[in-house]
């Protein structure tokens, strides 16, 4: 139930993010979700795309350092307190969230958030036990 995310190493330079997005766009890769973590000198661009294997090959072909890694896409009630309810369950069960970000579009009536967990399998088990919806890779392509 994990989905694939691409992480790209980027220097903190003007126009760099645009160049990478333009590269993917011109290759017909559609970005479904995106976030940038940055420091003074460098950043990590994290994206969920429709064709991750192809996209990572395109990025590497352009000389960028890019990796594939696994994240969990979780459905969150789109109402005040929706996210806090999930975080409360995770925290109560000792699951650590490394980072998270949101999808632009919805898959259902609920909002879709991406989580990077320290122990993804444990987190998936706990979320399932609590009847919280997790969206798989195939579903992501349909968004």
């Amino acid at each position: 139930m994990k989905i694939t995310q691409i992480s790209v190493f980027l220097e903190n330079k003007q126009g760099r993010l645009h160049e990478v997005c333009a590269l993917l766009g011109s290759n017909n890769v559609n970005i479904r979700a995106l976030t940038v973590a940055d420091t003074e000198d460098f950043g990590i661009l994290r994206i969920v795309v429709d064709r991750p294997q192809e996209a990572v090959a395109i990025l590497r072909g352009a000389g960028l350092t890019a990796n594939l890694n696994e994240i969990v896409a979780v459905e969150v009630e789109d109402r005040p307190g929706g996210l806090s309810g999930i975080l409360k369950i995770l925290s109560a069960n000792g699951v650590n969230v490394e980072y998270m970000y949101g999808f632009v579009e919805k898959f259902s009536e609920k909002a879709l958030l991406v989580f990077k967990f320290e122990e993804p399998d444990k987190a998936i088990g706990i979320l399932a036990d609590n009847n919280i919806g997790i969206v798989g890779g195939r579903d992501i392509k349909c968004i």
């Binding site: 995310q5 220097e11 460098f42 990590i44 000389g63």
Partner: protein, 433 residues
């Protein structure tokens, strides 16, 4: 086999006596026969009387390449031109060319040290050697030639270039030994494959490679592709040409012919000896040459010296591979920094490619800053800022422990460091001093 067992295996104590006796004689000889040396010694207040043994060598002034340029062409010769039997000219890649002169006795010495080198690499009398070093003003070809003749080898004086012909000579004559620059050995590899010659089937079993710095990675490539033992030889025209030091098949340092070429390792800035085993600039004194002896010649090559016993039986100290050149050295906050030191640290960290650049800067009124840009490749890229920060900190810590100064590490994208002719520019010095 050991070609000159008496000299190559002499116990260190007796060697010291011999070196002492030879040093006293050469200092006296140079003082009486060469005006620039005499003037230099007089100016520094050292007379031949002050030199009583090899341990007094540090009292003598250094000789540098500029001394040779100033004396161009024959100014540093200790004999009149009619006593010189051969002249060689070193390539003037950095400035004017320099001239070296050999008497008949010097040529004989050259043959002896080169015979030692060939045998040290594994040659035995009767072997055939293909000399693909250039014959001419460059010392490589003739030095190898004299040594091969002296050691009773069959010489193919192929000289450099004409790769197709080199490969044909190898296939038709089946020489066991190849002598050339390591980069030419790699170049011939491509040519061989294009001609449909299987390099692993070549007759060459031993390579004697030198005249340029080369890495262990390059050695591995030559050995695996040619299926031969690749040994390193060291020498420089100013001293004699090839034959100053040579690796035995253990490939654990180059045995120096220290009965005739006395090595010292100094701090290139202070000129003082470095602690035993530490890297520094190699300084050589020729103890027996007649035509153009050198007293404490600064080679500008950075090496370390290992005095530990070698199982091959030779008692001579061993030079490390060249770790750098003093020409590349930068001084940051009074500390000597060689790009190669930084490279060694980076290569020790798993996943790091040696693509880096050193930037030295000085902001007004502040201390010098040393920044090292390191390209991030897949081997060290993680999806977490925390882990990337850990890598920065680890590089920083390890470099600090080697150099003793704080450096700023900056992770940069692959290929973002400027390359010229395939090689990255290692140092950018932005200081305006």
């Amino acid at each position: 086999m050991i070609w000159n067992e008496r000299m190559e295996c002499m116990p260190a104590g007796r060697m010291q006596d011999l070196q002492s006796e030879r040093l006293c004689r050469i200092v006296e000889y140079v003082y009486s026969n060469c005006r620039p040396y005499r003037e230099k010694m007089d100016a520094s207040g050292v007379g031949s009387r002050d030199i009583k043994g090899i341990n007094d060598i540090a009292k003598l002034p250094f000789t540098v390449k500029d001394d040779m340029r100033r004396g161009y062409p024959f100014g540093l010769f200790c004999v009149p031109q009619e006593k010189i039997s051969e002249l060689h000219v070193s390539s003037g890649t950095s400035g004017d060319p320099i001239v070296v002169g050999y008497t008949a006795a010097d040529i004989k010495l050259w043959g002896d040290v080169m015979a030692r080198a060939l045998c040290c690499a594994g040659a035995v009398p009767g072997d055939m050697v293909q000399v693909a070093y250039g014959y001419g003003l460059f010392t490589g070809g003739f030095g190898m030639h004299y040594g091969a003749r002296e050691a009773g080898l069959t010489v193919i004086p192929a000289s450099s270039g004409q790769t197709k012909r080199q490969l044909k000579l190898m296939q038709d004559f089946r020489p066991r030994i190849l002598a050339c620059t390591p980069s030419y050995a790699l170049y011939m590899l491509e040519e061989a494959r294009e001609l449909g010659v299987d390099p692993r089937e070549s007759s060459w079993q031993i390579g004697i490679f030198g005249a340029e710095p080369w890495s262990e990675a390059m050695r591995g490539e030559v050995e695996a592709n040619w299926n031969m033992l690749a040994t390193d030889i060291y020498g420089l025209s100013e001293i004699i040409g090839p034959g100053v030091a040579q690796e035995c098949p253990r490939k654990d340092g180059l045995h120096v012919c220290w009965d005739v070429f006395y090595p010292e390792i100094i701090d290139p800035v202070s000129g003082l000896p470095v602690p035993e085993g530490t890297a520094g600039e190699l300084v050589i004194t020729t103890l027996t040459k007649e035509g153009m002896p050198m007293l404490r010649y600064r080679t500008r090559d950075i090496v370390s010296l290992d005095r530990g016993a070698c199982p091959c039986g030779r008692t001579s100290p061993r030079l490390s591979k060249i770790k750098g050149r003093t020409d590349d050295m930068i001084i940051v906050r009074g500390i000597n920094v060689f790009p190669s030191q930084i490279e060694h640290v980076l290569l020790r960290i798993e996943g790091i490619q040696p693509h880096y650049q050193i930037i030295v800067d000085r902001k007004a009124g502040k201390l010098d800053d040393l920044e090292i840009d390191v390209e991030v490749e897949e081997g060290i890229f993680f999806d977490e800022i925390k882990k990337l920060r850990e890598i920065e900190e680890r590089i920083c810590r390890e470099i600090e422990s080697v150099l003793g100064i704080f450096v700023k590490i900056r992770l940069v994208e692959p290929k973002s460091i400027e390359r010229s002719e395939g090689k990255a520019r290692r140092v950018i010095d932005r200081r305006t001093v």
